[in-house]
């Protein structure tokens, strides 16, 4: 199918700003779903609040546009009651790791079979350009006119430490890699995290003099490198891309199913 068959075309053109990377993530996600051959009725997308969260309105799957930071909590409920469905949870950096920080680490700890996508543009766009826990030190934001002093989370390390069993990173520049990583994340049995660096030309880019959308996206080519590449070896300051964690561990819904079976046996006995 064409990727346009997976969206609610009546809401297009979408409301994201010109050049917003979130549209590229939507684009790549639809390609991943198409290449996996998943049926629209078997997918549930839950989202929280923010520019990123608008994505659930655009995809023609089962969708829940929920509370700020709580997309993973809603997804957990859906997955536990209907484990046969594929759960995909796109979140912004603030939504996932500030407001929803606890839901994020506990979903990872449980290893519930959900794909979490962290659309990291390092800023709260919808509310006017406040800095987020992923902004990092030294950037300009509406709430940091003299630059930020807060260190940022490393999403990969946080997800790994919390127990996620698939952890990867890509950027909006690296569309083919993103599609491949999303396919692997969605196919993975367990909690999968894919961080995608994405440009916010309107707030982050303008404030931090990173240029127009095209310059911002091209920048990802120069500030990142593939895991295991010579470029990364020579310059460890580059942000690594690729798969960081891919391990097997008991999945939450399957473990819960065993509890149900055990409980029924005890009641019957």
């Amino acid at each position: 199918m064409a990727i346009q068959d997976y969206i609610r075309q009546r809401f297009f053109p979408h409301l994201w700003c010109p050049g917003c990377g979130h549209g590229i993530i939507l684009n790549n996600l639809l390609h991943a779903v198409d290449e996996l051959g998943l049926a629209k009725n078997d997918i549930v997308v839950t989202s929280g609040i923010g520019c990123s969260a608008r994505i659930s309105g655009y995809v023609d799957f089962h969708t829940l546009h929920t509370l700020h930071g709580r997309a993973l909590a809603f997804a957990t409920g859906v997955k536990l009651s209907r484990p046969e469905l594929t759960l995909i949870v796109p979140m912004g950096d603030g939504d996932a790791l500030a407001i929803g920080g606890n839901h994020f680490i506990h979903a990872a700890r449980r290893n519930i079979d959900i794909t979490a996508i962290v659309m990291n543009n390092r800023i709260y766009g919808m509310t006017g350009g406040q800095f987020s826990p992923l902004s990092g030190p030294g950037i300009l934001a509406t709430t940091a006119p003299y630059r930020t002093i807060d260190p940022n989370f490393d999403v990969v390390e946080l997800a790994r430490a919390a127990g996620a069993t698939f952890v990867a990173r890509s950027t909006t520049y690296h569309a083919l890699e993103t599609i491949d990583l999303l396919k692997r994340a969605i196919s993975h049995k367990g909690f999968a995290v894919v961080e995608i660096l994405t440009q916010c030309p309107t707030y982050y880019g303008r404030k931090n003099k990173e240029g127009e959308a095209a310059e911002m996206i091209e920048r990802y080519k120069h500030i990142t490198a593939k895991i295991g590449s010579k470029a990364l070896e020579e310059n460890p300051a580059l942000i690594p891309r690729g798969v960081f964690v891919e391990v097997g561990r008991p999945e939450y819904c399957e473990a819960y199913e065993e509890v149900i079976v055990r409980a029924r046996q005890e009641v019957a006995a």
Binding site: Q4, W16, C17, P18, G19, T172, Y173, A213
Partner: protein
């Protein structure tokens, strides 16, 4: 693998917001922004069908339609 040849570069004008990502990142400078800041295929004959414009379009406005070319380019 059979070589792909461009059939048509379809751009939905009403969805394009003129961000210029496709224009700037096309390896063959096939695309341009017109007077209304909409992306148009100015040099489709140079297209190598890499589909990067389609995959990087934030507005889902671009589709690269291709034909499979026969082995000897017939």
């Amino acid at each position: 693998m059979a070589k792909r040849r461009l059939r048509e570069l379809v751009i939905r004008r009403e969805w394009c917001k003129g961000c210029g990502i496709c224009v700037a990142l096309c390896p063959k400078q096939v695309l341009e922004l017109d007077g209304e800041d909409k992306s148009v295929p100015a040099r489709p004959e140079d297209c190598i069908c890499c589909r990067m414009c389609e995959l990087r379009c934030p507005d889902l406005a671009i589709t690269v339609l291709t034909d499979e070319e026969e082995g000897d380019g017939a």
